[in-house]
Symmetry: C2
Subunit: 276 residues, 2 copies
């Protein structure tokens, strides 16, 4: 999930300074929800596997000052954006950047104390294989932290089969691309199959209603609904819904972000240990 509106106000175009500040507050809200409990000790070698455009990198730096952070991504473009973002927002931070494939990690065995993976498994054909490869580069007793969403956790008021159908388009398109938008619920079995010990998975739930306008705007509208809307052309081209069905679904989703609406979404956060 691209949680950009939450994780970097600077990455959102077309907003005034006031709006950017407000989005920054929202960013803090979701970052606090997702990153709470993750703080690596100074001197530890931490691998951020699949850093994308660096949305989480700044939070890793904030919660673990003094770590030796190595951030990798398979996309050179993303890596360049991540580097620029970190240079702009945390100019004193030292990050080692590598363009690298999760399935061919250019690191020695047992060369990291901790691995951090966020919104990455959802895009992979073989998430278990990726986790097994990450286990290889973790020292025995080292930890992996995994954060993923699960679109099956999205429910809302007013209830609407049309809205669920629109969400279903995103799920089906992601599946067709080899990913799994429902991966959050699978974190425990995936980590177990990949050979980790002491696996603990906990839900991290976002619930938004009119008493939490920052979450309604920042999460329901600008993160979740915006993400569903982004697959419109692909969904219509694939014939998953008619144009009228799609428009009805999006209109119904938007009603969940009005003062009468409510919205629920669950992220899952896992912590597991490489065998000693």
């Amino acid at each position: 999930m691209d949680t950009t509106p939450f994780t970097s106000p600077h990455y959102v175009h077309g907003y005034s300074a006031d709006e950017a500040r407000r989005l920054g507050d929202q960013a803090d809200t979701l970052a606090a929800l997702l990153h709470a409990g993750t703080a690596y000790p100074a001197g530890g070698r931490v691998l951020e596997a699949g850093c994308g455009v660096g949305a989480q990198t700044v939070h890793l730096l904030d919660s673990g000052p003094g770590v030796h952070l190595v951030s990798i991504d398979v996309s050179g473009d993303s890596l360049a954006q991540a580097r620029a973002r970190v240079n702009a927002q945390r100019p004193d931070a030292r990050v080692e950047w590598h363009r690298a494939d999760l399935f061919a990690l250019p690191f020695e065995d047992a060369s990291f104390d901790h691995v951090f993976v966020c919104f990455v498994l959802e895009h992979l054909k073989d998430p278990e294989g990726a986790l097994a490869g990450l286990r290889r580069v973790l020292r025995p007793g080292g930890t992996i932290t995994v954060i993923e969403g699960d679109h099956g956790s999205a429910f809302f008021h007013p209830e609407s089969p049309h809205a669920h159908a629109a969400i279903g388009c995103q799920v089906r398109l992601q599946a067709a691309a080899g990913g799994d938008a429902l991966v959050g619920r699978r974190l425990h079995p995936l980590l177990a199959a990949a050979g980790y010990d002491d696996i603990v998975v906990r839900p991290r739930t976002v619930y938004a209603d009119r008493t939490r306008p920052a979450l309604v705007e920042g999460f329901t509208r600008n993160t979740f609904i915006a993400m569903i809307e982004s697959v419109r052309e692909d969904a219509l081209a694939a014939g998953l819904l008619t144009r009228a069905e799609w428009d009805r679904g999006i209109a119904d989703l938007r009603r969940t972000a009005t003062p009468e609406g409510t919205f629920h979404y669950t992220f899952f956060k896992a912590l597991a240990v490489a065998p000693r």
Copy 2:
């Protein structure tokens, strides 16, 4: 939702003492999740509206010793069971029992400091009307606590459309009876429409995997799946699913309670204030 396996080990038949003790531990787990934060000061007049068979009454007594508890239910049979349960489990507790209709409360205006409602709105044709009536008997500034489930929050691994279809039977049958198994997400708009102030709704999420065997057995299997299975005959009689479809759905649901499975369910807890 009948959470009996969690809320009273004494009410479960056919278990050994060891099993009863273990179920008692599980009962504590869910009760802690649902009741955390609810503790009424001594001397306060508390109305438990729709006490059913008293599953929550004992927890109210435990978390608020010294309250003046008035518990009502529309069913004389349920009320008798609740009274017997409390007499057996909390023999020193004083509870005032009334058989009464939520829509014709036999109490003066502003005669309670607090109202507690748990797993009741889901059964009502007019939950907003019930909440408005409860507001009448609350003193200005008094609080209402509402706890409800939402079956739309049930998702699991392995994913299965057959399992969702079986759950859908329960939702449709409850709707046909005038209730709403998806009421949890509506607590904020319902309380707002009923005229309450300072409404705060938060999810209380149950997530079970093999690392939490008590929740797998006590919640996934013995509470949630057992509840869905209880509507089998009604679902088949209504033609909602074929026998084969039903059996497939239940078999798939049971896979979520195996060591490879995971299960997620969200309760909602609301606190709101009668206008001052």
